[in-house]
């Protein structure tokens, strides 16, 4: 008789010594960090040697599934990939959908903690509670799609594969790791860390069942929540056209990042209607009730709103098919779309301003040049010519001079992922300025700010009255605080943000649903308040890690100078910019709500608590 499966099994893989150890997470730690992003941050704090070089064997790479990943709860196909980011030098954490996370759990492993560096290319094979370190020389150098196809050929078509492409192998600092055609743990350069460890792929085959505390209750709850979610308008639209639906919203507002944010309005050719002409079918990730992924007619998947703006408007490519082609290329090479698009646009502006010339760049850089963008993407992934320089990412500010950072749309060393120019919506601006991994919209974007919602409604949503005017600086800290806390919890659960309360609809899954689902899946009881505290604890843990690694404080919670100094040029948002005084006031309030001091530091008691939890021993 098999013994009961522990709630969280971690495999500690040391690639240098080629050893694998298993530890269980004690229940006290699970109660404090839950799983997914939360437990990943806990283990990163526990295992990372302070100030380690991100591309050295000292970096710690963690793949962690959420507490609900793989269960029947809606949209639970997600896991988090965490390490110290080679791009920004602070925490690197990226959430990925697809099917690998559930498969890891079915293989009996909830979290992989990867240390050291293999002497030759390897991949990890997970099955029946075991982790094998296997040779991957035959796979090294292949594109993401080729790698997965070869694994399916060699090991059977039923294995799930997450891999890096040439960009990760060549240590491009914004390389991503990829599952399938399009799913990516995109941000923070996690792919480069895989490459630095000579880790090509993680392959899982899960034959074991994942125990669910109340199976019948879970089925009933799933059906109830599915019907509830299906009533949501935005989920229906996402299922029909995907994220490009946001393009027109931002474009009419005059807030599409165009030509490196020098302009804010772009052609209609990239809107959902045009994109949809190239879509064959909409598909979903594991356990998905939304199905927002496009299978495009040009041989890939996508594009998302992020891609169509950052590889479209931002570099001036207006042709829909060409933009989709760039999207497919970037996906196959294993590059982060947001960073790639931002750096290329930045390089073009550097060229315009004379920091680069035809001799140093090897070519003429200009906006709207599809062939140039295509060549540059290849060169970045294979580190050739100017691509080799750009592959260093935001560190190039040191090479070109600190003033070039003023027009690099990045915060804390990470380019902005949100295609929305944040100068109009102050809540968005505060969100990306304070996000724990750099300029990122998936940490704290209060998306609903973009709609003019009635006060009664926002009061119900955020739990207290907030200023409904999106351009005011009042009470935006409340909105951001609310959003970042619930997004942290949703990442710990392993649920997709598209069904999360507040991300794009006020009536999706909230704390009550999470606590109900956790009880049905694991038998653990979490109250609404406890879950909120978990969210805050995870955010504090990230802040502490950022302080430890790069001394992140108030001075780093800021925006690119372009957002402060240059008013937006067009449409409804014309004239908007971020006022430094108003921004500082928002920041003061934000720190107060987070319980941090004026400089954005954690209180001593919190640091002691986190250190005490870190030092707890494991079985």
């Amino acid at each position: 008789m098999e013994e009961t499966r522990p709630l969280c099994v971690n495999a500690i893989v040391n690639l240098t010594d080629r050893t694998v150890d298993f530890v269980e997470t004690p229940e006290e730690i699970i109660r404090n960090f839950v799983g997914g992003r939360g437990l990943n941050m806990y283990y990163l704090y526990k295992y990372l040697k302070p100030q380690a070089d991100p591309l050295s064997p000292d970096n710690v790479l963690i793949l962690g599934t959420g507490i609900l990943t793989g269960t029947l709860a809606p949209n639970t196909g997600r896991h988090s990939v965490t390490c110290k980011s080679p791009e920004s030098g602070i925490i690197g954490d990226s959430n990925i959908g697809g099917f690998l996370g559930p498969e890891m759990r079915f293989a009996g492993i909830d979290r992989l903690i990867i240390l050291g560096k293999a002497d030759k290319p390897v991949y990890l094979y997970l099955e029946d509670g075991k982790v094998e370190i296997r040779e991957a020389s035959d796979y090294w150098g292949l594109l993401c799609s080729q790698t997965e196809a070869k694994f399916h050929y060699d090991l059977g078509s039923d294995v799930e594969v997450q891999s890096i492409g040439p960009a990760g192998e060549n240590l491009v600092r914004f390389a991503c790791t990829r599952y399938g055609v399009k799913n990516a743990a995109g941000r923070c350069g996690t792919g480069a860390v895989w490459g630095s460890k000579n880790l090509k792929a993680v392959v899982a085959r899960g034959n074991r069942g994942l125990p669910v505390a109340d199976p019948q209750g879970m089925i009933n709850k799933y059906i109830e929540l599915r019907d509830y979610l299906k009533e949501s308008k935005v989920i229906n639209v996402l299922g029909r056209v995907g994220t490009p639906l946001l393009y027109d919203v931002s474009n009419y507002l005059g807030a599409i990042r165009t030509h490196n944010s020098q302009q804010t309005v772009f052609f209609d050719t990239l809107n959902a209607e045009e994109v949809h002409k190239h879509v064959e079918k909409m598909i979903g990730c594991y356990g998905c009730v939304v199905h927002c992924r496009h299978r495009n007619t040009l041989g890939g998947e996508g594009p998302e709103y992020t891609t169509e703006v950052l590889l479209g408007a931002n570099i001036g490519v207006a042709d829909t098919a060409k933009m989709i082609d760039l999207n497919n290329l970037v996906n196959d090479l294993g590059l982060d779309v947001s960073s790639t698009g931002t750096y290329i646009a930045w390089a073009i502006e550097l060229f315009e301003k004379g920091y680069l010339n035809e001799e140093t760049a090897g070519r003429i850089l200009r906006f709207g040049d599809y062939n140039l963008a295509r060549d540059l993407i290849y060169d970045i992934a294979y580190r050739k010519g100017l691509g080799d320089t750009l592959a260093e990412g935001s560190r190039l500010v040191q090479k070109f001079g600190p003033e070039t950072a003023d027009f690099l749309i990045a915060i804390k060393g990470l380019p902005q992922s949100d295609p929305h120019d944040v100068r109009y919506l102050k809540g968005f601006a505060l969100g990306i300025a304070t996000s724990s991994r750099g300029a990122d919209h998936l940490r704290s974007r209060p998306t609903l700010e973009i709609l003019d919602l009635p006060v009664s409604f926002t009061t119900q949503l955020y739990g207290e009255p907030v200023d409904p005017n999106p351009t005011s600086y009042e009470s935006k800290s409340t909105v951001v605080n609310f959003s970042e806390t619930i997004y942290a919890v949703v990442d710990c659960m392993g649920i997709c943000k598209f069904v999360c309360h507040g991300f794009n609809s006020p009536r999706n899954l909230n704390y009550d649903h999470f606590s109900e689902l956790t009880r049905l899946a694991t038998g653990l009881e979490f109250s609404k308040d406890q879950l909120k505290q978990v969210g805050r604890r995870v955010l504090d843990q990230e802040r502490l890690l950022n302080y430890q690694e790069k001394g992140i404080t108030r001075k780093d919670d800021t925006l690119p100078a372009r957002y402060f100094d240059e008013p937006m040029p067009s449409a409804r948002a014309k004239g908007s910019h971020i006022d430094r005084e108003g921004f500082n006031k928002m920041l003061d309030e934000y720190y107060e709500l987070a319980g941090w001091d004026k400089d954005g530091m954690l209180p001593r008691e919190r640091i002691e608590e986190l250190n005490r939890l870190r030092d707890l021993t494991e079985k």
Binding site: G70, T71, L72, F99, F106, S145, E148, A149, H152, S157, D158, G180, V181, G206, N207, R208, G209, L210, P211, V212, P215, Q216, M218, I219, Y222, I223, R226, K230, E280, K281, M282, I283, G284, C285, Y286, G287, C288, V289, H291, R295, E301
Partner: protein, 155 residues
């Protein structure tokens, strides 16, 4: 004479490959989550761009029944439902002969698992759980079988 029975059908254009059907099936029949333990399966290849639904057709003359060497697969004469039981020894002959890929293996228990149309419940749970309505449980007219080879023509 074949029994007229309701069957689980799929409308493939609506299938998004989420595997919820298989997972709900596994939870119902095994009490554990894992689409691989479901009696229905979604075979998906993102690169070759297809989703194929491995559904049991409850054949009139089931090859799995003929192939089973311990005789643990039966076809109910009244309902037409083909079931197996736990006398299974895990030889996987039924898995090999099923032309639709709908016999599944439970590799932990070393037993074949097979769809019983949730005969003890109100209706098949996979159909109930499908988020897009791709699966339906219907009584359809049988399509008359078209001959694979047509007669020689002289044109």
């Amino acid at each position: 004479m074949a029994v007229r029975q309701k069957q689980i059908y799929c409308r493939p254009t609506l299938c998004i490959g989420c595997r919820i059907c298989a997972n709900a099936c596994a939870l119902t029949h095994e009490g554990e989550a894992n689409p691989r333990l479901g009696r229905i399966g979604i075979r998906q290849n993102l690169f070759e761009r297809y989703e194929y639904q491995e559904l049991c057709r409850h054949c009139d003359e089931p090859p799995c029944l003929d192939a089973c060497m311990v005789g643990c697969i039966e076809k109910d004469e009244k309902t037409g439902i083909v079931t197996n039981d736990d006398r299974c020894v895990g030889c996987w002959m039924c898995v090999m002969v099923c032309p639709y890929g709908s016999m599944k293996r439970n590799l932990v228990k070393q037993m074949a698992v097979k769809c019983d149309q949730c005969k003890d419940l109100d209706g098949p749970v996979c159909v109930e759980a499908c988020p897009t309505g791709a699966l339906v449980y219907e009584d359809r007219e049988d399509e008359p079988e078209k001959p694979f080879f047509t007669g020689p023509s002289v044109t």
